[in-house]
Each structure stands twice: as structure tokens, then as C-alpha cells.
Symmetry: C2
Subunit: 707 residues, 2 copies
């Protein structure tokens, strides 16, 4: 797919230059310095010799076949260069030149023409406005990138949307001893984007983990489809910048006002099994752990230290990350006790005391790793007189080699020199300066373990009265309304099998009794009148009616009172409503993100929505797993489980409600906002009941769809 670009057998550098410290000179130097495995053809109108290589006036003059053209010419010459590349039979492009979409409308037009040609010629293209591409495979050795630093060999596939940043990152990776196999600076991502890279790397043996720096996601649905599949095979770590840029959404619903671009991105990454980091520092720390550790069997962490303080701090961090401090077996403790000094502590964290020699490090690690109750081990070293930190590190790596099945991390609170000394050597254990870095990394391993174990979600299909719902919406559209009435909204929900508050209309006592019998007691009775709007003031609302006898008595009393006051004339009848009582008011709904499309929302409703913001979002469509995750990811889940003596809520039915809403918006993609607030948890039955609902559609789109 991207082989012509990432594994080229030959490279042309169009815009190669003899002028020092220009990209046209640097790229060529990098290609040579890194010893590219195939021929390199500089292209320059003047021809001649550049960096010792024969240069050609145009790609058409190159004698051999060319897989990849790296293009550095001024943007106004890019299109004709692509035409010549096509004529030459080149299928891979990497356009480093800037001056496209990023400069405004004119550049955007140029970029559109570029893309049109790439498509028409059957090429693939990285860029424009990018830093280049790298492949460190010994059979390729392509450094087609103008970063300061030569690439370090490793197992990471890395995509960066920011050019300059990509260069900075390459420097840092090298210092962190983090090598990579392939690097793509996607720039303006006219053709190749993060999704292309994901798909390309899915079955690439050389790539064991994928790192993404993103400012936007090109096609969220496609990203989700690919990432959720690939993340089960290889960890995908992402830094998504631009979290705060979204600003307040103008939507009027609760669902809308609580959403926002970052919530959508966050939901998408979560549903895709992508491990999200919020700073480059954390991104790289996590990558270091994945590069050197297997996925653990569980979350039980053992800590081995020669100093109490860091042991305490590591314990704090393990607990705060929600992992488990391993309980060492009596057998393990006895074995440790047999060789550690009396002042040592053989409980987890195991404190070997300051003077622990290397032999104690080895033996303690061996003993703790052999304990079946231990899934991961953190080894802490603080400098002690006469010991060399690099010797201790070597011992840790030796033990690790014999125990490849359990993650091991080292925390060496020593001089920077130690880390510099490691750089360039064959390091097989992630070493950090601070305990929290190791613990955070382990928590990500644990996250990946849970994601792998998570069943494949499926999108269930429920029976629904799609035609009925469409009819209701059409009626509103016919009146020019984008906003459905409460009644219409409730009816649409009901058509989709969502349990709504039962109600009926009655004009007589017998009809009222019949409606109440159908709905089931207790009920609420509300008069509806053309002349009396303040129902409550005239006793027109009767709550908690428990029997037909009571209902008939109340009905007669109501009529009598109205008659006394001369208000009977306007009475149209009464609405009989199911009386749903409960203290747990939830909220769910749909919001539409301009980029990510419809999003589902669930959480704590009532007066607490804005204050507590105990809500969670997922991108539609929902799988059953997504729905299950949603319900369990709000704090209020404890209330649903039946905290403090309340009846447990019907969780399955809540999940179904979310899934049915997801189906609704899949059927009617022009639904812009939908709120069920409250979704009351019935105290009697525990089931979720939509007591109030509102739906808003996008008028033009709805009209086009419903005809």
C-alpha cells in the first residue's frame, strides 16, 4: 500500500541543492549518511554533481526505475513535477514543499489539484508541507527527513501531524533510547493520513507499537474501525492536541452544552482502544514501557527497593492508579527472609535496605518474580557507596532476560549520566528517574490488558417502529418545526421501544378509569382545559391515585369543584399519567459534534447535570460493550447498583435504552439533539423510564431524507 514510499528500492530527490543548510541539501546528506540501500538520484535543473552524486535535470532523465520521489521544489512547480513523475512511472511521492492548504484558499486549491493528480495517476503521497519519512529497517535504511538527528532503530511506528514537532520528537526519542522502525510526517495529510499509516502497519512485522501525534482526525468513523481492530494486536498510543480549542458549543440542549470537540475525540479514542496521553513526556514514558515489557496477566504490582521513601511513593502511586499491591506468599517471604538482613522488610514493598549488594537485587527479583501472586515488578535503586548504577542496571536486565513473561521496570534515582550511559546500549528494561513514571507505564500495560480481554462489541438491532417515528417527524416538518413537541418526542422514543412514562387522554370518568387501568396504579390525573391554564390553583392536578375507587372519587371531585367555580365549560378532559417515583434521575441523549457526528451521552441528571458533570460520551453507533462501559463509567453507577438500600436499577434495560437511541440516530442521522431528562429509575421496579424527552432535527437534512 505504502511500500513504494516506505520501502523504496530507489529514491529521487527533486529539488536537491548544493546550497548548504537548505532542505534540498540536508535531505540528500541524510539519505547518504544513513546509507540508503538503493540508488539515490538528485534532480536539479542545472544537473551536475551534488554531494558526490550525479544530478539529473528532471526525473525523466534518470536512467533507472524510481519508486519514491521526495519533492522539495517551490510549491508552484510541484504539479508539473508530479506530471513528470507520472510519466517516469513513479508511484510514491513525499512532498516536503510548503505553500498549500496551510497558507489559505489559493494554497488549498493547489492542494486539491495535487490530490486529484495523485488519485488519477494511482500514486500515494505523503505531505505536502511535511518533514519526510523514515524507515530504519536494515534492508531499507531510508532517512528521507530533515530532522537534526539520525534515526535510532526500534519497533515503533510513529505518525506526526506537526512537522517541526516531529523533528523535536526525533531528538527526544533518541535521548530516551526509544528507537523506531518507521516515521511518517503526514503534514497537510492530503492523501496519506494517520489512518493510512495504521492500516499499513497492521501487519507490518517491523512495527510493534504505534504512536500518533494528532491535531485532528481525518475520518473519525474510519479511524475507529481501523484503530479498534489494530489496537487489539499492537498498542496504539496517541497524543491529541487542541483539547481546549473547541470552546463552548452553541447547542441549546444539555447534551449539546456538555459536549465539545475534546469530549468527542476522547470518546472516539476510548472506543477505539487507543491509549491516550496528554503530554509528550507521558507519551514517551509509556512507549518506553511498551517497547520493553510484555502485557501482564493481572494488575498486581510488587516493589523492590533499597530505600523506604521511594517504596512508599511507589505504593501511593500504585494505589492511586487503581492497581493492586501484590500480596507476597508466605513462601516468598520466608525465602527473602533467609538471605536479606534483619532490618529488611519482606512484605511488599520489599525494602532490602540501603546497603543491598547486587546479589540481593538479583536474588530478591528472582524470588519475587517466581511468586504466582505477582504480575509486575518495579525495582528501585538509590545510590549506595561502592555500587555502580550501571552494574545494578545490568543485573536487573540479566534477571529480566530469564523472566520475559512479567513486566519489569527500573527506577534509578541517580545522576543523569546513568541515563546518558544507557543511551546507545542495548537496553531491555524501561529505566526511569521517578517511581510515578514506572507506575503510570504499568497502568497503561494494564489498560492494554483489559482492552485485549474486552469482548468484541456488536451493534444489536432491535425491533422498532421506524415508519411510525418517521411519520411523527414528518408531521413536525410539515409545520416547519425542527423541534418536536414533548408529546411527539416521547412518541418517537416509544416507537423505538424506549420505556416512556405511560399516559392517556380521557373525556369521561369511565374513560379515565379505563386509561388508568391500562397504565396501572398509582397514577397522576391532570385536567386539560382551554380556559384554565393554572391547573394546580383550581385543584386540577391529583397525584398518587392508588385505585379505581379513588380515581373515580377524585374525578367527580374535580368536576364538582370546576362546576362550583363555573369553569366546567372549558374542560377538554384529563390526562392520566403513570406515576413514576424515584430518587435517581439519570439523563441520556444524543448530541452532534460537527466533526465526529452523533454522540451518545449518559449520566446523572436532574439539578446535578451541570454542577457534577457526571456524564460520559461515546460516538454513535454504540456497541453493546460501549453501552456497558458507559453505564459503568459514571460515578452515579454506584447509585444504580443500589447504594444505601435503594432497589438496584435494571442495568441491562439502561444499556438497551442507550443502544436503542443509537439505532434511532443511525436510522435518522439528521437528529441533531435528543435529551431524555430525566430518565427516572423507578423506585418500584428499578427500570429506567423516560419521563420527559425532547428531540430536535436538522431541518433541511430531515426534509431531504424523509421526502
Amino acid at each position: 500500500m505504502l511500500d513504494k514510499i516506505m520501502k523504496p528500492r530507489s529514491v529521487a530527490v527533486v529539488g536537491a541543492s548544493t546550497k548548504q543548510h537548505t532542505i534540498g541539501s540536508d535531505i540528500l546528506k541524510r539519505l547518504q549518511e544513513y546509507a540508503f540501500c538503493g540508488p539515490i538520484y538528485p534532480v536539479n535543473p542545472k544537473g551536475g554533481v551534488i554531494e558526490g552524486l550525479q544530478a539529473y535535470p528532471s526525473v525523466l532523465d534518470i536512467p533507472g526505475d524510481v519508486d519514491l520521489a521526495i519533492i522539495i521544489v517551490n510549491s508552484r512547480f510541484v504539479l508539473q513535477t508530479i506530471d513528470q513523475c507520472h510519466e517516469k512511472g513513479i508511484l510514491g511521492l513525499c512532498v516536503i514543499s510548503a505553500g498549500f492548504k496551510e497558507t489559505g484558499a489559493e494554497g488549498a486549491r493547489l492542494e486539491a489539484e495535487l490530490l486529484e493528480r495523485v488519485r488519477r495517476y494511482g500514486m500515494r503521497c505523503v505531505g505536502p508541507n511535511c518533514l519526510g519519512v523514515v524507515n530504519t529497517h536494515p534492508g531499507v535504511r531510508l532517512d528521507g527527513c530533515f530532522a537534526e538527528t539520525l534515526p535510532e532503530r526500534g519497533n515503533i511506528g510513529f505518525v506526526s501531524q506537526s512537522g517541526a514537532l516531529g523533528g523535536g520528537i526525533l531528538n527526544i526519542l533518541k535521548d530516551l533510547n526509544l528507537g523506531f522502525s518507521q516515521f511518517i510526517s503526514i503534514g497537510n495529510q492530503a492523501d496519506v493520513n494517520a489512518e493510512t499509516a495504521l492500516e499499513y502497519w497492521e501487519n507490518e512485522a517491523d512495527v510493534d507499537q504505534i504512536l500518533l501525534y494528532m491535531e485532528s482526525i481525518h475520518d473519525p468513523a474510519n479511524f475507529r474501525r481501523l484503530a479498534s481492530r489494530i489496537s487489539k494486536k499492537k498498542p496504539i498510543l496517541a497524543l491529541k492536541a487542541g483539547r481546549s480549542a473547541a470552546g463552548a458549543s452553541a447547542a441549546s440542549s444539555h447534551t449539546g452544552s456538555l459536549a465539545g470537540a475534546d469530549l468527542a475525540a476522547d470518546a472516539l479514542l476510548r472506543q477505539s482502544g487507543v491509549i491516550r496521553e496528554f503530554s509528550l513526556r507521558d507519551l514517551f514514558a509509556t512507549a518506553k514501557v511498551f517497547a520493553n515489557c510484555p502485557i501482564p496477566k493481572g494488575d498486581r504490582v510488587a516493589i523492590i527497593t533499597n530505600s523506604g521513601g521511594p517504596g512508599i511513593m511507589a505504593t501511593d502511586a500504585v494505589c492511586e492508579q487503581g492497581m493492586t499491591m501484590a500480596q507476597l506468599s508466605d513462601d516468598t517471604k520466608a525465602k527473602l527472609r533467609a538471605f536479606l538482613p534483619a532490618a529488611a522488610s519482606v512484605k511488599n514493598p520489599v525494602d532490602m535496605i540501603a546497603s543491598a549488594p547486587i546479589e540481593h537485587y538479583k536474588q530478591t527479583m528472582e524470588t519475587v518474580l517466581a511468586d504466582p501472586g505477582v504480575d509486575m515488578v518495579i525495582v528501585i535503586y538509590l545510590p549506595f557507596l561502592g555500587l555502580r548504577d550501571t552494574d545494578v542496571a545490568r543485573a536487573v536486565m540479566d534477571v529480566k532476560a530469564a523472566h520475559p513473561e512479567k513486566p519489569i521496570a527500573g527506577v534509578f534515582m541517580t545522576k543523569n549520566e546513568f541515563f546518558s550511559a544507557l543511551a546507545g546500549t542495548d537496553v531491555t528494561v524501561p529505566f526511569f528517574m521517578y517511581v510515578e513514571e514506572a507506575v503510570d507505564g504499568f497502568e497503561r500495560l494494564n489498560e492494554q490488558r483489559r482492552w485485549i480481554a474486552r469482548p468484541e462489541g456488536r451493534i444489536p438491532v432491535f425491533d422498532a417502529d421506524r415508519e411510525g417515528a418517521a411519520g411523527i417527524m414528518k408531521a413536525a416538518l410539515a409545520e416547519g418545526r425542527a423541534q418536536l413537541t414533548t408529546r411527539e418526542s416521547i412518541d418517537v422514543l416509544s416507537a423505538y421501544g424506549i420505556r416512556v412514562c405511560g399516559s392517556g387522554f380521557a373525556r369521561t370518568e369511565d374513560e379515565a378509569a379505563e386509561a388508568a387501568g391500562r397504565i396501572g396504579y398509582p397514577v397522576v390525573m391532570k385536567m386539560t382545559s382551554k380556559t384554565t391554564s393554572h391547573k394546580t390553583d383550581v385543584g386540577g392536578v391529583r397525584v398518587n391515585i392508588r385505585s379505581e375507587e379513588e380515581l373515580r372519587a377524585q374525578y367527580r371531585d374535580l368536576v364538582a369543584r370546576l362546576e362550583t367555580r363555573g369553569l366546567l365549560d372549558g374542560l377538554e378532559g384529563v390526562i392520566i399519567q403513570e406515576m413514576v417515583t424515584g430518587t435517581r434521575e439519570m439523563v441520556c441523549g444524543i448530541a452532534t459534534d460537527p466533526q465526529y457526528g452523533p454522540m451518545m451521552m449518559f449520566g446523572l441528571g436532574g439539578v446535578f447535570i451541570e454542577v457534577m458533570k457526571d456524564v460520559t460520551f461515546r460516538i454513535a453507533p454504540l456497541t453493546d460493550q460501549d453501552a456497558a462501559d458507559m453505564v459503568r463509567s459514571v460515578k452515579a453507577f454506584k447509585l444504580l447498583e443500589g447504594a444505601r438500600g435503594t432497589k438496584p436499577a435494571d442495568i441491562a434495560r439502561i444499556e438497551e435504552t442507550l443502544l436503542r437511541l443509537s439505532q434511532l440516530v443511525a436510522d435518522f442521522p439528521f437528529v441533531d439533539e435528543l435529551d431524555i431528562n430525566p430518565l427516572m429509575i423507578s423506585e418500584k421496579t428499578g427500570e429506567p423510564v423516560a419521563v420527559d424527552g425532547r428531540i430536535k432535527v436538522r431541518l433541511e437534512e430531515a426534509r431531504a431524507a424523509l421526502g
Copy 2:
């Protein structure tokens, strides 16, 4: 106070040794290497010459005066050494020897004897079981510490409770270019502890900021008194480890079960104006910012960058930290536009584009710093061909020198070599690798700014019926009850002027009408009977009684119903209660931490307490500022302000409630638990009303206090 230890004119090393790689040898070497300004006297029973210095068999043989004795002998010889030091007239001790409290009961006894001698002899003592002390002042140059690294000169006073960790930290500080002026490894803190150091450094010109690594706080009340005063003059940064160790509290009340040692420590540090960090990494990053930046005038941050990506990430971080992105003035933008290239962005973040030369860095910084709408500036540099990062850094420092009044931080996403190159040079700007580190540091500056601006709190004294409350408690004690009844609890609260739900007892219809008239309608009427416990089942609870007429009717109806059922005999009478209606249920109370004493709690009550944990704690006694902070630091404060059309709560009255509770527990320190749950916010008046209360005392202590 600690001058004899921290600024000694002469030092004896008792236990000096000729044996290499022992503490007795290393300490002596360090003292010499670091060129201690006074005479050094090795003490060794064998005498002779050690490290080129004349050794003496005992301190008594030393010819000159000795200020400080550093003691390294085996713990069993420490007491006699101290006796000899006393005889010699030595007043400063630093006991490095281990084998005291940390080893068990025997060692604890030895430590008690040590302390007794220190007190009796009028000495001060650091340790035992510590790493030593350091003072980098050129007039002292004391390195009485066996860390690997020689100390770096700077303006930090640093206290470490962990010896080995302290050593590791000294290494790291040096790498971070973070120098310090004084370092005390307090070890077992038999005499000198963090509080002693705080007090000593309060007026020490050489110490500009104080760093604490703590696992416990010796005397929380004293710590608070000192730290809250000193933190207004010098920032105090603390890492308190052992957060998770506390485990679940066994207390039965909500207040108790939500508390726990770390909540107490967190509250104490907050009330003391101490900036709390949760990892050493963050502690040092913050220290670096304080070491090189003034306190800003506001929270408006401007970002200057040569790459878009890091600018976006910095913007994200600024927003997430709750700070403000500075709005550059039109004037500033015009000035920037005048020299920056067309592709540059002159809005904040200012993107000078990748090729920005040093001159643009300087001019942009000058222009942005001159904008009165900017309080702090972050300068980001990503490597660009032909520029040297150290040259850019030098330019940033040059501009900073001309603008000492505004904090400036640098983020240089470049090679580690850059940071190594900085180490040892005179760096005046905090440089970081990642944007989040600079932003976090600025947020701490901002926190310190707010703390300095926060008015001194006062502890108000309210009129309260202390005798009345004592009488109620005594009555419970007389019956052997630690737990007060609801009635008693409510009466105690009432005696302390806390607005409780009004109620009265009545035996007749007239008494009931009289009580209701006194309380004010609407009221609730509840029967109280010796024979009928299920009041509700027999219609014994009548709510929302709105008038005397209705009350009398309901009373008669109640009596009639009981008569019909033959239940009248057991009737004692009725309780008339004020009917407090409201949807906002708060909670407040007192919990007792075994180490920190009484703590005040406030937050969202009702079914949400455990689920939302939207509660906050402060150590008693509360100042008016503490009470104001408490009410404003829970999310539910928005509900109190009157979100969504509810009446604003009487905030002043809520604060007063907390302050009155604080006074109550100051008067009766044996109150172990106190809950007001709910503290209902009256929908009608907005005032907080204690609807239910429970108080539990510590029986023995209460009896002793109340006689």
C-alpha cells in the same frame, strides 16, 4: 536556634575512620573536599592521623572550641559520646548513627534517652538515623553529609525525612541545575524536625524557598501555625508520601468514613499555604520555577513559539490549569506584524514559524513582555537548521534580565545535551523539555500569588450556650452513652447557635396549636406512642400542615383514627416539626483524625455523599477564610449560588455554621464525630437548617473533662 549545627565555626567528626568507603571516612572527605571554613577535628579512640588531619581519642581531647559534633559511632556508644560533648561544651549534634526508634522498642528507648540528654544539656540535635546536614554559604561551606555528590550552591532550604532518598535527591538537584543553601536530613526527627527547620529559615536571608519531603508531620498544629505564616514570605513546597497507607477508617459516621489520613494532611497543607506536589519530578520542576521567577501580578499567560504543535499543547495546558490565555493588544499585534513574516501568527500563541532567527525571539519577547495584558511568558524553541539551542537560550536569558518583573520560562524540545550544557552555567530562566512542565510551574506561581493575596484568617468567637451543651452531654454520659440521641444532638447544635429544624412536643390539641404557632407554618405532625412504632401505617404522620385550622382538623382526625383502631391508650402526644423544604441537601460535620485531631467536613449530602464524594475537609479550628474556602471548594457551590432558578443559599450563614461547629469542638475536644446530614438549604429562605444531627464523644475523655 540551629546556628551551632548549620553555621558551625568548627566541627568534630566522632567516629572518623581511616577505612575507605565507610561513612566515617566519607564524611571527613566531604568536609575537606567542600572546603569547610573552620577547623575539622576527627575523633577516633586510636587517635593518629586521618585524611591528613590530627585525630583525637575523644572530643575532650580536642584543643579548640567545637560547635558541631557529627556522630557516626555505633548506637550503643552514642549516649556516652553525648555526655562527653556536653562536658566539652558542644551544643550542636548531628547523629548519623542508626539503631534507634526505627529498629523497634529497644531502639526507641535509646532514642528517648538521647532526647532527654539533648534537652537537659540545652543542645540541639539533628537525627539520629540521618544523612547529615549541608550549608553551601561561602562563609560556612559545610558538607556534613555522605551523599555521592557535592552540593550545588543555590537558594533552597531542603528538609528530607528519608535519608537514602535525600541522597538521591541531591544527585537529581544537581542535574536540574537546582542549587540549595541548606539541607537537613532529619532522620528520626528526635529533636529537630521540619517545623524546627521552617522556623529557623523564616528569617534566613540565604533561603528563598523551602522544600519538604515528609512521611509524617510531627506536630500538625505547630506546623500549621508556622507554615501559614512563613509561606506568605517564602514559598513552601512539600511532597508528603504515605497517602495510601492510611486505609479505611473504622469510624461509623459519614464524616469519619470519608476522612482518612491523607485528607487530613491535604487539608493541613492547604490551610498552611504549602504548595503540595505528588511526585519528586513535579516538586523539582516547581522549585526550578520558583528559583528563577518572580510572583506574577495575574494569571494571563502568553506563549511564543516557532512551531504550531507545542503552541497548541501549551494552550491546552494553560486552559486545563484554569489560567488565562493573555489577549494581546492591537498595538502589540501591530508591532509583531511589523517584523514577523506573513506566515506568522501574531495572536496568542504567537507562532513565529520554524525559521525564526534569534533576533525574532528577542524582539517578540520584548514586544509581548511590554503588553500590560501579559503576566507570564512561555518561550518555546524547536531545533531549526543553523540555530544553536544554547544561543537561543542565552538570548531568552538576556531579555529576561531586562524584564525581571514578569515570570519567563523556556521550553526547549531539543537534545538532552542542551540541558547538560546548562548545568553548571549561570541559568536565570527555568528551561524545560515539555510545555506542560512550564505551565504547571506557572500555575504554582499563580497559586502562591493567590495565597499571598488571601487575607489573614481570624477565628471568630460566637455567643454560645456552652453550659447548656455541657449539661446535655453530661446527661448522656451519666447513662453511659458515648452516642447522643438525635434530640440531644440537635439540642447541642442549637445551644451553639446552629439553625436547627424547629420542633415541639404537645399532649393536647391546644398544645399542638401553640407549638405550631411558635414554629410557624407549614409544619409536620408526628404521633409518638409507646405501643405503636409504625407511625405511618396508622396515619400518624401528617405533612405540610398549612394553618391552625388544618392542624386542629388533622389532630382530631388522628385521634379519631387511633380511637377507631383502639390505639389511643399508648399515645404520648405529638411532635410538631418545622417543615423544611428544599432540593439542596448539604452535609457538614466533624471527624477526628488520630494524628491531626478534629477535622471539619462540608459538601453535598443526601444519597450523593458516598457516590460523588463532593466534600472538602479542613483541620479545626477554622478561620473565617478557611470556612469561606470550604464552601467554595465543592462543586455543589454552584447549586448554592442558585443554579437553574433556585433561590441562592445564605452562604454567610453556611460559613457561620461551620465556624460554630469549629468553636464547639474547640470547647469540647472530646467530640469524636459529629454529622449534620442533611443540612437542608431552605427553598423558601435559602438558609441552612440542620434537619438531622448526631454527635458521638470519646467516653473516657469526656468524663474527665466534664467531671
